[in-house]
Amino acid sequence: MKPAQSSIVGSLRYSPLWGVAAVFLSIIGMVETFAAREVVAGVLSFGVALLLFTGIAAGFQAARLAGTGRRVQVSAPPRVLWTGLLAGALAGLIVGAMVAALVGLSILADLRRIFVNASPGLFLLLTNGEGVAGAYWPVLAGAAAGVLGAGVALLGADQRHPLVVGLSALLVLSLFQDLLDPLFYSAAPLTAVRDVLFAFSGLSPLGAAIVFALSAGGALLWRRCGATARAWYGGLHAAPRRGLRLAALVILIGLLIVLPIAAGPFVATVLVLVGLYALMGLGLNVVVGFAGLLDLGYVAFFAIGAYTTALLTSTGTHGIAEISFWAAVPIAMAMSLLAGVLLGIPVLGIRGDYLAIATLGFGEIIRLLVLSDFLRPWLGGSQGVLAVPKPALGAFELGGPGEIFYLTLASCAILVFVATRLRNSRLGRAWMAMREDEDVAQAMGINLVNTKLLAFGLGATFGGLSGAIFAVLVGSVFPHSFQLLISINVLALIIVGGMGSMPGVIVGALVLVGLPELLREFSDFRFLVYGAALVYMMRRRPEGLWPAATIRRELHTAE
């Protein structure tokens, strides 16, 4: 039995890291904040789920390592099974013990002097309401979570996959409960369904069972029959296949049109934001993804579009023309185009990281100038430009976020089309040649100056359109809306989505803008999670969520 023992000890080498994670999550207040929301009413809160997850993950990892370091199946000899479970339990125990140590520390020293979130409420939560006397609770729970994690690790993929899908469905449904509510209350039969599934906060125990059974069952079914369905689709002729795809597209568009009406103004506003970021992403994608010019000052064009629209249409003190939105948009886009070319000229000779920094400098200069008292008589300084009227179509005013969403959606559709055509054009091929190697591209007869300036200019135009819509969405424009953070977010979303890929931009915008906005109640932690997710994502999947075909090929042949 000696080797098994030593392999158990060795398998615990990463467990303290999970313990550190658990203590960290507790002490920054994430556990306590998340505990206010229930996954399953009266049974499990998000905070507890978060803590248990660290234990489960530690157990899962230890069980994997305690086997031969590879996957272990239930069909494995019982000795491996017991070793795995024991390793899991010990790993969970370590995590729990570290949390218990935190509880112990809270009596010895006043942690709150330094760690503002180490509140009494947190320690009551960690000890199941018993205070310090209940310090055994995290240890027990940790060990149990560890065994659970080990159990999951020992299951075959056929059983594990549906389990994970089922549990994820529980988390997602309870997390988005507030957003689903308006949908459920829109019709009487749906309301009845809601009352079965949900309690006041979180899923009801019965609802949780139903959701879990349905989603896990579905996943199981897909594992069994998914291959057949795929084979059937693959066996279809081109015409019916195109028909199916068209049908899917129509359903998608239909859903997008109905969504803001059904889901209420909050979701509609979030969708508009996603759309605006997607517009910027499409523009920056032209500059960075197609032409390979790293631009960190993209927000400047967003700002120029927004300010131009605001100044031209505003009925307030700073308005200069009071023309309609539709007349202002082309001017705003032209201004952005001009700005893109003008900013492009001096930086023509700069490459790579230096270009990123130079453009970052430009972006900040624009914001600081707009903010300054120097230009205040024209641009309003920190008070901004107010009273930007909503756009109108005849007598119909696009007032609410729902209507502006359609405007954004239409703009997105047009720009996706434009960007696709650009990519497949002679200019697009020149951009990509330049991205791969400037010198070779020049030797092939590509005019680098024109090609680069067109990339900057056209990319900027997209940003200008986004800014114009932003101005009418908010109804006023302030310099504080144009932080460097926006440039960074847009860059992050096209990279997370997949460089150079248009569906990637949309997916990136949904994930990096939509999710954090929807989960606003956890706003204190959204950037924490966002940052961690960016790092994790880049380590695991550097090509992005929905990569363009060429980039994917490149990254995988390079290995």
């Binding site: 960290f24 002490i27 920054i28 207040g29 994430m30 002097r113 330094i114 760690f115 503002v116 979130n117 960075v288 390979g292 790293l294 000229i345 001096p346 930086v347 000779g349 700069i350 490459r351 790579g352 990281d353 230096y354 990123a356 920094i357 130079a358 970052l360 400098g361 430009f362 900040e364 200069i365 600081l368 100038l369 903010l371 300054s372 008292d373 120097f374 205040r376 960074i488 860059l491 992050a492 990279i495 997370v496 460089m499 204190d524 932690f525 950037f527 924490l528 966002y530 940052g531 961690a532 997710a533 960016l534 790092v535 994502m537 880049m538 380590r539 550097p542 990254l555």
Partner: protein, 339 residues
């Protein structure tokens, strides 16, 4: 076009300077104060810039999260300073206490920098260049909000040591004691670093790795170790900068690393990124430009509230250095590296 820009900038500078000098609103006293403030601010920038420049020299990547390393050190050391002040030690043994605070700041920042390298950069050393840039941005967010979660989102006032209050009279010029200490400490620190890089064995290895990683590895240099040491040294400098920054501005905040981080990066580029003396010169120059620039160049042109535009001057400087002399003031002209 480029000549037009050059002439335009030159006109602004010359006309502005003439305007300000002839108007004579400001007595010599103000100018001296501004210069001294600029120097002490600039030396803090220089210390942070060292971290950027050393990492860039070796890995050819921008460590965007370096500003957060600076913040982490200063913020963590606050609690030591606070405890010392509460116990009265800060007034009884001021030098010893301040050294302790400095040590904590440097150690925290060093640990942060090394963790950053291990978690966010090392696994991606051979990835396309955009990838580590994004992890750096992600790590930067993570660190900011991790510290916010740990220590709270408010400003915290650094306790003041009695002996650093007031000013010294040097050559008939009154200099705030904190500014003098910052200046001297920063110069000492930079001199030490310069000696370390130029004359120690590890420093030689660092320079070798930054020249050519493969060749250095063939010469028996442990490249990974050198990279870790580079991050550690850069982190320690950032921690020291954090401490000095807190001495001057007397408050800490979870977001305090962002602006000095960008400024220090500007300083590093100004001096020639990858070049250690360049970072020092760039930092001091940037500090000076920021403090006297707005009044010297812009006030004379009749621009209202010129001080609001100090960052515009800093960033304009950055852009122009990149356009006209991308290798920086002290950098040698590098062969164009493939991006």
């Amino acid at each position: 076009m480029l000549w037009g820009i050059r002439i335009g900038i030159l006109l602004v500078v010359v006309l502005g300077t003439i305007g300000t000098v002839t108007a004579g609103h400001y007595p010599a006293r103000t100018w001296i104060d501004l210069v001294i403030f600029g120097l002490s601010q600039g030396s803090v920038y220089a210390l942070i810039a060292l971290g950027y420049t050393m990492v860039y020299g070796i890995l050819r990547m921008i460590n965007f999260a370096h500003g957060e390393v600076f913040m982490g050190g200063a913020y963590t050391a606050y609690f030591v300073a606070d405890a010392l002040a509460a116990g009265g030690d800060l007034q009884r043994h001021p030098i010893l206490s301040l050294m302790l605070v400095l040590l904590v700041a440097m150690v925290t920042s060093t640990v942060l920098a090394v963790l950053l390298e291990r978690i966010a950069y090392r696994p991606l050393r051979d990835a396309p260049r955009l990838v580590p840039l994004i992890t750096a941005i992600g790590a930067s967010f993570f660190l900011q909000y991790a510290f916010r979660g740990l220590y709270g989102s408010g400003f915290r006032a650094y306790p003041e040591a009695e002996i650093l209050r007031g000013s010294w009279e040097i050559f008939g010029i009154a200099i705030l004691k904190t500014q003098a200490v910052v200046l001297v400490a920063a110069v000492l620190m930079m001199a030490g670093l310069y000696w370390f890089v130029m004359h120690s064995r590890t420093g030689t290895a660092m320079r070798a790795v930054s020249e050519d990683k493969e060749a250095a590895a063939l010469m028996g240099i442990d490249v990974n170790r050198v990279i870790v040491i580079t991050f550690a040294v850069g982190g320690a400098m950032a921690g020291a900068a954090g401490f000095l920054y807190a001495l001057v501005f007397k408050q800490v905040h979870f977001f305090m690393g962002f602006i000095p981080g960008i400024k220090a990066f500007t300083a590093a580029v100004l001096g020639g990124i990858g070049n250690i003396p360049g970072a020092m010169v760039g930092g001091v120059l940037l500090g000076l430009l920021e403090s006297i620039g707005p009044i010297l160049f812009l006030d004379g042109l009749g621009i209202v509230a010129p001080y609001q535009l100090k960052d515009v001057i800093a960033f304009t400087m950055l852009v122009f250095v990149l356009i006209f002399r991308p290798s920086g003031l002290l950098g040698e002209r590098l062969a164009e590296k493939k991006a």
